[in-house]
Every structure is written in C-alpha cells, then in structure tokens.
C-alpha cells in the first residue's frame, strides 16, 4: 500500500489531498496486540452475568466477610468434560504398566499372559490419553508446543513429557513382544522398555493430582498432600478392576489381579477420607465436597468404592460377584475424578473459598511464614475494626 504522508516525489505531493482527509490508509490495518483474537459468537463468549448474590451496600467493611458483590475472584477451569476421563485413563495405564514391570522383574514365565495384557493396556491407555489431551486444547494443532521447553515448575509440562516418554516405552514394549522372537535382541529391548514404562507409570498416575493442586483453586490447592495419593490409589484400583473384568488365563493371574485391585480399593477408600479431612482445614474449602452436585458425586464415588471392596472381600469366588465388584470400583474411580473436577469448578465460583482460608493463614502464610496479610493487618478473620 502506498503511504500518502511518506511520498516525496512531486507527483505524490500534488496528489496529496488538501481538504484534511490525508489519512494514512495503513491506520486502518488491524495490527493491535489482540487484533488476531478470533471472535465468533459474542453471546456464548460473554453470557449475561448471574443475578447479584450480595447486596451492594453490604460489601463494605460492615460485613464480617466482605466480597465484591459475590463476584468470583478466580477464573473457573476452562477444560472439557473429557479431562477427568483422561485422569482416569492415565491412572489406569500407569498402574497397568507398573504391574507389567513388576511381573517382568519378578517372574516373566509364569505370568507371561498377564504381562502381555498389561503391556497392551498401558499402550492403548497412553494413546487414548494423548488423544483426550490434544482434543482439550484450544489450539489442538499446537500440541507439540508442550515439548518445546522443559519447565519443572509446570506440572502440565512435566506431565506432557511423562506421557510422551511413557507412550514411547509402552509402544516399544508391545512392539518387542509382537515382533521379537524368544530370546532375540528385540524381545530384550521390549522387556527393558516395559521396565521403563513401569517407572514412568508411577508419575503418569500421580501427576494429574499435582496438576490440579498446583492451581489457585481453593479445594484443589487445599488437598495437595492427599490428592496425589488418592489419584494413584484409584489408578491401581482401576487397573486391577479392568484386569478382573477380563477373562483370566490362569488361577495365578486371577490371584495377582485380585490382590492388586484389593490393595488399590483399600488405599483409594482410605485416601478419599484423607482428602476430605485435609479439605476440612477450612470449612468453606471443603463445602463443594459435601454439598450440591459434586458433593453427591463424591459420596457416590465413596459408596461405589466401598461396595466394590466389600463385594470382593466376601468369602467364596463367584464370577458375578467379581464382575459386580469391578464395575462398582470402576464407577467409583470415574465418579471420584468427576467429583474432584466439579468441586474445583464450584470452588472457584465462591470468592469466600479464596478469601477465608487466606485469612486463616492457609494462603502464602503457610509457606512464606508471613503473619500479616497484604493490607498490613494481622491474618485474622474477622479483623478488628480500625477507625
């Protein structure tokens, strides 16, 4: 485009309008920082705000727990409903990989069928998990940008690397199993990859909990010491239950799967109570796990896990009982992930869930040891009225 102001030739100077309309046409080109922001539907991008929940004149210091018209201070998670499903799949795949590595390490022969099955579960799980993750991105085509840096402070980055490495290892272990003949180099490489996949399976099952806890969302941050234990225990229960559902090749295999699943169910149930206990350090933080839809889902998850455990501990071995137990445990593991995710969503919408625990000393004070809040007054709630 020709610049009108910039022209210096005689012709250009003569062509220049003299009626004050000498506007540089380049001014019309959108070059601002956000000019590239894609806008399709305004109504869905910015829905009409909810009705007021607090009376405006009450938002002053007269109230014991002030807020800004009850408007959320934090942004709600923007992830799709498939993300809790990814957490489930990741836990399942990681635990199956770990079990496969344990078999490889201790007893490759007697439980070869179980090991093969676990390798398959690990690989398919990693593939499905990766697909679910990519699907959730705002710009799925840029998925590989996750691997352009290594950033230990970002659990999502660490998780992307773990998932990538785990996918490579589980795939290599399956490839070694399918292509390598007995005693061949290829088979040995596959076995080595299986051990590596087992080690990577541990963080694969645990990192989603760190990813959730490493946020400002009160209920996720407030349960950071127990949430990883819950996710990992539940991953073991999920993998064990899936193995129990599939027809076993031998009595040994059934016994291993049963023990693995039982350990997971007991640990998951115990960890779920530990999570509740940790959240209760601040009543307002624990609220989403007790009330409303996430609260109901959380209770349902606990009941399913407990029922699954009880059924599997009953004496006698009936197939229907085993199936019922595994289905209940799987339902419990899924419901638990959705309950945690939804509780976080509800938690961000309550400004007091952010304010109150910080006044209780559960904000920066917990790690930085400061005794005063950012307004220079003691971390105490309610504050003494200063005139």
């Amino acid at each position: 485009m020709k610049r009108m102001e910039g022209g210096t030739s005689l012709l250009e100077r003569l062509e220049r309008p003299t009626d004050g309309r000498n506007v540089d046409p380049e001014q019309g080109i959108l070059t601002g920082e956000a000019a590239g922001q894609v806008v399709k539907e305004l109504a869905t991008a910015h829905p009409v705000p909810n009705l007021l929940t607090t009376i405006p004149s009450r938002s002053g210091p007269a109230e014991e727990a002030p807020s800004y018209y009850g408007v959320p201070v934090l942004k709600a998670p923007v992830w799709l409903r498939t993300i809790p499903l990814y957490f489930y799949v990741g836990g399942l795949a990681g635990s199956a990989s770990m079990l496969s590595a344990a078999v490889e390490l201790l007893d490759g022969r007697k439980l070869a069928e179980l090991e093969r099955r676990c390798r398959w579960i690990g690989m398919v799980g990693d593939m499905v998990g990766t697909a679910l993750l990519v699907h959730d991105l705002g710009r799925p085509a840029r998925f590989l940008n996750m691997l352009r840096v290594f950033r230990p402070t970002s659990p999502m980055n660490v998780g992307a690397w773990v998932l990538a490495a785990s996918s490579a290892m589980t795939s290599a272990s399956v490839a070694g199993m399918l292509l390598g003949r007995r005693g061949s180099m290829l088979e040995k490489l596959g076995n080595g990859a299986s051990l590596a996949a087992g080690v990577l399976g541990l963080p694969l099952a645990g990192y989603p909990a760190v990813l959730l806890s490493n946020t400002a969302v009160p209920v996720w941050q407030g349960t950071r010491r127990t949430l990883p234990l819950l996710f990992m225990a539940s991953g073991v229960a999920s993998a064990g239950s899936l193995l129990e559902l599939l027809p076993p090749h031998s009595a040994r295999e059934r016994s291993v799967a049963r023990r693995f699943a039982t350990f997971g169910k007991v640990a998951a149930l115990a960890a779920s109570f530990a999570v509740e206990r940790e959240a209760r350090r601040s009543e307002v933080v624990a609220r989403p796990l007790r009330q409303g839809k996430p609260g109901a889902l959380w209770k349902a998850a606990q009941v399913c896990t407990a029922a699954g455990l009880a059924l599997s501990l009953l004496p006698g071995r009936r197939r229907w009982r085993q199936v019922a137990s595994s289905v209940l445990s799987t339902a419990g593991a899924l419901a638990m992930r959705y309950a945690i995710y939804d509780a976080g969503d509800v938690s961000t919408k309550d400004p007091h869930a952010t304010f109150v625990p910080q006044r209780q000393g559960l904000g920066a004070a917990e790690v930085a040891g400061n005794t005063v809040a950012s307004d220079g007054r003691p971390l105490k709630f309610p504050l003494p009225v200063v005139s």
């Binding site: 800004y68 923007v78 996750m146 990992m232």
Partner: protein, 265 residues
C-alpha cells in the same frame, strides 16, 4: 531496560472508565456484550480475555476516615484493576509451552503465536486475571502495552487516565511516589490507606506486584485476595505425596505378583 509497572492510586480514581476504553481501542479487543449487571456502575464485571482493564465500583455505607460526605455515612471506592505482572507469576510458572514470558521490561507477556490454549494459566492465576477466549482458543491478558513500551510510549490506560490514578513508570520511582502518597493521605486523615503488593515484604506469596495499588479498605472489598500465593510455592508437598504414592504403587504391584504367583488352581 529496568523494571516497569503501574501504580494505581484508587483514591484518585473517578470511575470514568477511560482506561477500559483506551485499552480496548489500542489493543483492538473485541467487545464483551452490553449487559447490565446491577453492580453499581460496574457493567464490566471482571478482568478476562477481552477485558484487560476493569473499573470496580464499591458503594460503602460509611465515610472515608477524615472525610465528611453530604449524604451521610457513605463513600465511593473505585479501582481500575489490571493484570498484576507478579514478580513470581502463577501463569508464567504454570505455562507448559513457554508462551508466557518475562519481557525486558520485567512484565509478563503471552505470546499469541506460541500459546496452544491448554488453559492451565487460567486456574494458576491467584488473582483470576488471565482467561481463555472460547472461540479463539488461546489465553489473553494485559500485555502492559508491550508494543508501546518498545517505542518508549506510555501504556494506553495510563496515557488516558485523566486524574493520574494510573501511573506508569520505573518501579523504584513508582514505589517512592506511592509511599509519599500514603504518607500524605495519612496526614490528612485517611488513615486506612496502604499499598497492596508494592514489594515482596508486604506480599511474599507473589514476590511483589509490578502493578500495585493504593487501597483504603480490605483487599476483599475490591475483589483482591488478602494473602495471594503463587501455587508453585506449595509444589514440594505435592511431589512429595507423589513419591510416597509411587512407593505404595510399586509395593502393591510387586506384592501382588509375589503373593499371587504361588496360587494353585
């Protein structure tokens, strides 16, 4: 290049929203729809993907200390909120792609051509500033007019502010100016004036804010957290729990194989 930032003095804010308009215009941000919220004169609501400045309006049922009002017990609080450009930024530390960077002006900037829209920064911000736009798929927030700073220009909001409630400049100078202002206010009777997030000492959870505020009431009243913390500071406990869980998982797998393989049909 030195540390640059904003000092927003809420006692000078008259709620004209010129900063909101200037920001929208300069950055060519899409509009947010035209809704009435019922929250005093605030029809913007909160900061978001296409709102990088937001003026909050608080109607208090009590006067400012040291001031008399013609309408009885009443006072206005207005504050132009913006991205805080934290010294330890939750969004930056959470970003898995390295799209969020710290610039030569010590500000926090999202590179739109790198962001893959994972949405992790959205929940990592302890102030709820950054957001992902549904239809765009990427995260957006105040750039502190990165494109203007490079040309030695003042950010659009500070340029447009008619009362110098928003001041842009070198952080050290801003802090000095802010402390002087607090002293002045206290001398004339506004004893509740204080600086929010001026340095790491007063806000250890963020290491101090590059855009800090002068407030006269508790932070909650302005929708600011009283003791914000970058989530990464608490990460040690989380990975510790993962290590413990890993031991448990390994024990479960090895134990199940050891005990289960002895089983006979």
């Amino acid at each position: 290049m030195g540390q640059r930032g904003f000092f927003t003095d809420t006692t000078l804010c008259i709620g004209c929203k010129a900063c909101e308009v200037a920001c929208k215009q300069w950055n060519q941000l899409p509009d947010d729809g035209f809704h009435f919220t019922g929250m005093s004169y605030d029809h913007t609501g909160h900061l978001g993907a296409s709102t990088w400045r937001h003026v909050a309006f608080v109607e208090r049922p009590l006067p400012l200390p040291g001031q008399q009002s013609g309408v009885g017990d009443f006072s206005w609080l207005m504050m132009s909120d913006v991205c805080k450009h934290c010294q330890r930024a939750g969004c930056l530390e959470a970003c898995p792609t390295g799209a969020i960077i710290r610039t030569e002006f010590d500000t926090v900037y999202v590179q739109p051509d790198v962001c893959n829209g994972c949405g992790y920064c959205v929940v990592a911000c302890p102030f709820g500033v950054i957001d992902r736009r549904e239809d765009d798929g990427r995260a957006w927030k105040c750039t502190l007019c990165y494109d203007r700073l490079g040309e030695d220009m003042t950010p659009a909001c500070a340029k447009a502010c008619p009362t110098e409630s928003i001041v842009y400049g070198d952080l050290d100078e801003l802090r000095e100016r802010a402390e002087r202002r607090v002293r002045e206010l206290r001398e004339v009777g506004v004893t509740s004036a204080y600086l929010y997030g001026a340095d790491a000492e007063s806000q250890p959870g963020t290491g101090g804010l590059n855009s800090f505020f002068l407030l006269v009431d508790r932070p909650e009243v302005y929708n600011l957290p009283p003791d914000p913390v970058v989530p990464t500071m608490k990460q040690g406990a989380m990975w510790g729990a993962v290590a413990l869980g890993a031991l448990g998982m390994a024990a479960a797998a090895l134990g199940a194989v050891l005990l289960g393989r002895e089983e006979r049909a």
